[in-house]
Structures are given as structure tokens and as C-alpha cells.
Symmetry: C2
Subunit: 334 residues, 2 copies
């Protein structure tokens, strides 16, 4: 069934049907009612391909994330999808994994599907060391707007919304120091762009408080609870004393709690622990985790707003910062 069937049955031309369909006002109320009636009767829906062919848009946004089984990224996908739908845009989701070629291929694919914009979630799409690995993003931006959620890349038609991760970790580390902690371990998941920002917050806080920086106190653990616990065990066995653990993800904070539990250390009295992302894990542990709320939802809403602004030609900011919240629970006493 197509627009001709409707026009025939309604006794009007296809142009009139099209006008009704697109809310064009140059149709008499009477004709409009008649056409609508027929459309309903026939259960007619316009063919998006034909429409897209003419208009060259399908009101669809490509969303890319490296791993949508990650709670942080999954949340972002959820908020973005919701908010885009509010603006009558659909989403095509791509989970790319971490392989650079896959990322390129998926982006290519989205481009070839003629999406109207692309949102990249998380900073795993950026390569801080080899800028040539970011070229594919800059290239893509020549065709359509590229939106970055919690990462940043300089470039035309590229927009970014970020949580101020550095400030968040700085604040929390500083608060630990001010409350008397001197030996603070920092465990992180990865050296992504936001991973670097977080680490830098930790380092700056030490510096400002003239606390010497020890490389043994900074360790990568992926998102591995066990690995975090074991690393702290290793430190302990080797005679290192520490009284606080700051992490870049709640999972690592869970590992720290398990370490404390194994050794019978009181939390937060003997060991303070801070998580990141304020995920479900933060409320699942005993005691419950002090954690940093990285404001995914705000980030996503901002991203979609900016994108809509780009579409209708408004002046929009290229870069937006949002401040994290520190959610104090029972693993710290600052």
C-alpha cells in the first residue's frame, strides 16, 4: 500500500495526501478530515525509504559505545535514547569494543546509513597518544555533527559535554588529606582521556598539599575487583602503609573494601575508600561507598540539547562542563 492507494480512495491527488501527512496548512479542513479517515481505515504508513530518498534524512542518530554492558555506558545509552526520542529522533546503537578498526568500521557504517548525527559515549574513542587515531572522527565531522559524551576533541562540527573528573578527584583527595590521611593509594581502570583527568586530579591534590608522590601508590586494575584487592594485599605484604584508597570506578573501591575486610581493618577509621560513578555497587557494599556521581544524565541531556541546536542552526557551545557530585556515605569521614 502506498500514497496512491490513499489518494485514490480519498478521491484526491497524492500531493494532497502528502500535504496532510506533513501538516501543510494548504488543505481544507474537509479534505484533511477525509484523507485522515482513509489513512486510518487503510492503516497506511508512509515509506521511510522513499521519504528519506527525497529529504536525505531519516531522523536517526547513531550512538556508539565501546561496551554497553558497562553500567556507566549503558546508563548513558539509556538517557540518550530517551531524550532523542522526545525530540522525535531514533537511535541506531553500535557497540564497538575497543579495537580501533572496529570503531572506524562502525562509524563508517553509520555514515553510510545516512544518520543525521553521531554520539560517541565515553573517552575510549579518543587516543591521547596518537592523534592520527582520532582522524576518523574529524573526517566524519565533515559530513555530520559528532557529539562527544565525556571526552573532548578539537575539531570543526565536533561538540563535547564533559564531567569535570579532574576537579572531582582533586576535591575528594584534598578532603581526605585535610581530614588527616597521608598515604593515599589511587587505583584506576584505564588511561582513557577521562582516566587521565582523574589521575591528574589525584596528583594535583598531593602536590598542593606537598605530599610526595609514590609510584607504587598508583596502579591500573581494569575493572577487576579481585585485582584491586590483590594489589592492595601486595602493597601490604611489602610493608607499605596506606590509610585511604581513591578509585576511578566503584568496582575497584569494592576491591579495596574486600581487602580491608580480609585484614580486619575498620572502614573508614583505618582505611578510607572512595568510589567513582555512584553505581549500584556503591549501595551494595557494607559499609556503603562514598562515591562520585559523574552526572551521566545531565551529560546526556546537554548532548542532545546541543545536537538539536546544531540541527536548527542555533549558536551552541562547542564544549560544556558539568561538575560532579560527591555522594558521602560510610567509607569516608570527611
Amino acid at each position: 500500500m502506498n500514497i496512491y492507494d490513499v489518494s485514490k480512495k480519498a478521491g484526491v491527488s497524492i500531493a494532497t495526501v502528502s500535504r496532510v501527512l506533513n501538516g501543510n496548512n494548504n488543505v481544507s479542513e474537509k479534505t484533511k478530515a477525509r484523507v485522515l479517515e482513509v489513512i486510518d481505515e487503510l492503516g497506511y504508513t508512509p515509506n521511510v525509504f522513499a521519504r528519506g530518498l527525497g529529504l536525505n534524512t531519516m531522523k536517526t542518530i547513531g550512538i556508539m559505545c565501546t561496551d554497553c554492558s558497562d553500567p556507566y555506558l549503558a546508563n548513558a545509552v539509556y538517557y540518550l535514547e530517551q531524550d532523542l526520542k522526545r525530540h522525535e529522533y531514533d537511535s541506531i546503537l553500535c557497540c564497538t569494543g575497543n579495537n580501533i578498526d572496529n570503531k572506524k568500521n562502525y562509524l563508517e557504517l553509520l555514515l553510510s546509513k545516512r544518520v543525521d548525527g553521531i554520539i560517541l559515549i565515553g573517552s575510549k574513542f579518543l587516543d591521547a597518544d596518537f592523534s592520527e587515531n582520532n582522524a576518523f572522527i574529524i573526517d566524519a565531522a565533515k559530513n555530520i555533527p559528532i557529539m562527544l559524551v565525556n571526552s573532548y576533541l578539537e575539531g570543526n562540527n565536533i561538540y563535547s559535554a564533559q564531567c569535570d573528573d579532574e576537579a572531582a578527584v582533586y576535591t575528594v583527595t584534598d578532603a581526605l588529606i585535610k581530614s588527616g590521611r597521608k598515604n593515599i593509594v589511587y587505583l584506576y581502570t584505564s588511561m582513557s582521556q577521562s582516566g587521565r583527568n582523574k589521575l591528574s586530579g589525584y596528583e594535583k591534590a598531593l602536590e598542593m598539599n606537598r605530599i610526595p608522590h609514590r609510584k607504587e601508590f598508583v596502579q591500573m586494575c581494569n575493572k577487576d575487583i579481585q585485582r584491586a584487592k590483590e594489589y592492595l594485599n601486595t602493597l601490604h605484604e611489602n610493608g607499605y602503609k596506606f590509610d585511604a584508597v581513591v578509585t576511578s570506578d566503584d568496582s575497584l573501591a569494592v576491591g579495596a573494601l574486600k581487602y580491608a575486610n580480609e585484614h580486619g581493618f575498620k572502614v573508614p577509621e583505618e582505611l578510607s575508600v572512595v568510589g567513582y560513578n555512584d553505581s549500584i555497587l556503591a549501595q551494595a557494599t557494607e559499609p556503603e561507598l562514598t562515591s562520585i556521581d559523574s552526572k551521566v544524565q545531565s551529560l546526556c541531556i546537554t548532548t542532545v540539547n546541543t545536537l538539536m541546536g546544531v540541527f536548527n542552526g542555533s549558536d551552541v557551545p562547542t564544549r560544556t562542563y558539568i561538575t560532579a557530585d560527591i555522594i558521602k556515605r560510610n567509607t569516608t569521614n570527611f
Copy 2:
């Protein structure tokens, strides 16, 4: 840029370009090479709308889930998306929430986008009480195949892959009883289709072991850790004795552990606890949770396989069952 530009530059007709594009063999090697060269040079990509208009397919599958921030559903989205991509299908994701009208609208929207099939994740799309609320699914199946992940609906062109939730809960409850537990509380998240199956497994295990069924021992708690803990507290305060808690989700098992912790009950000696879904939570607690692995990945792979079978006209099963695994950790001693 379009196929005409390519044909002009290559000095052939658009038909030849199209043949090259679609791997048609009726092209001389020489011409083919020349066309490919020009395509590469121009960076030409075929317009999917025009293609879709002719073929009436866009090699795209609609995926619907009620809440992709839920770890179980997010995992499913991830596996499905991955596996569909392997088969050269893209995914459009819709997170519908639980409102029935939203569900209907989103499904309508996917249909209007001319997707080639629709996958519904989880049993929240089915209404066991009012079958008229399932009619929209049966309707949709008149146009394209509908795949159900972990739910079931009788109907033409509807296919389902399910985890045998009933058997899983039965087995685990039975094991608890056989190991000496007599007063087993069952906490669940919702009365979805799979929620009912799980409950039924619990009830059957009690029945088979001639243990009387107490309505106070069965309680709905959503996914709320606190609520689970508080309900157990209430039972305790009212003098009810129980020595095991079976749950329909790890989050509720976490609540049970918090309850035990508050009262100083030893786990598993004084209180056994069983979770469900074997999520990250199961490894985050102390002691770590015995949980049921509901085999999302297998479910998803099966679903995609079946769908591909439907597309190429193979005989495929309408309904597939997969058996859950019981992951024994430290909150049980059976």
C-alpha cells in the same frame, strides 16, 4: 555524489556500476577493476534510502527493551547487537519503559521504519493477565518476525528463546531443603512472565518436599536492596524464623546479606542466600553470592540464529529452552 558520477567517471553505465556494487558476475574483470578504482577515488557510498526503496529492506533489526540500564537487559542488548552485526544486520534500539502505550508506540515506530525483524528482550512485554495487551505483538508479527528473549507468546511468526527459570529456582530451593533448610523466604522483583515461572519453581519445590507454604515468606521488593533488607527485618521483628532466602535478582540477595550482617547472623551457616542473574553484584558482596546464571548470551545467540533461519526460509524451532547454571559461591553450603 551518486552512481551517475561514478558511471560517468568510469566511462560505463550505472547498471554496470550497480553490478560491481552488488557482486554480480556479469562484469569483465577489467571493467570491474576500473569501477572499483573510481569508487575508491571518489569515496562513493551507495545511498541506503534509494537501495531500501527498491529492495524494501534496510538490513536492520529493531531491539526493544524496557530498561537498558538494567544490567541483565543491557547485557542482552550487547550480545544481540554484536551477533546481529556479525550477520551484517544493524540494530535500532528502543528503551520503552513499562508503559503499555509507549511499548505500542515504539513497536509501531519500528514497523514504520521498515525494520526486518523485531526482538523483544525480557518478559516485561507480555501481559499474563490481560491477553488483549499482547495483541499488538501478534499484530506486528503479521508483517515481520517477532523474536522474544526470555518470554513466550503463542502466535504465528513469533519465536521465543527462554531460560528455564522455573527449573532453576526449583533446583536451588530443593537443594536448600535437602541440605536441611526448612524456612525459606522468597523475595522477587516483579510478576512478569519469567517472575511467575521463578515463583512457581519455589512453590513446587516446597510442595514436593511437603513443606507448608506461608504467604508471609513470599514478598515483592522490586529491585530495591533496602526494601529486601527491611522486609526481612519486619519478619524477624514479628518473630518469624527463617534460615534461607531465595531471590529472583542479585540485588535482593544483597539486601538479605545486609540483613544478616545487621543482626550478626553467619552466612551461610545461619542464613543461606541465593541470588539470580549472576551479575557483578554477586562478586561484590562479602561473602560472595551463590547465584543463578540465566544464560543471557546463549539466549541471544539462539535468538539471532533463529531469526537468520527465518530470513532464509529454514525450518526453525518456534520455542527454545536453555537450562540455567547454578554458580555456587559462599552464601550456601549445599
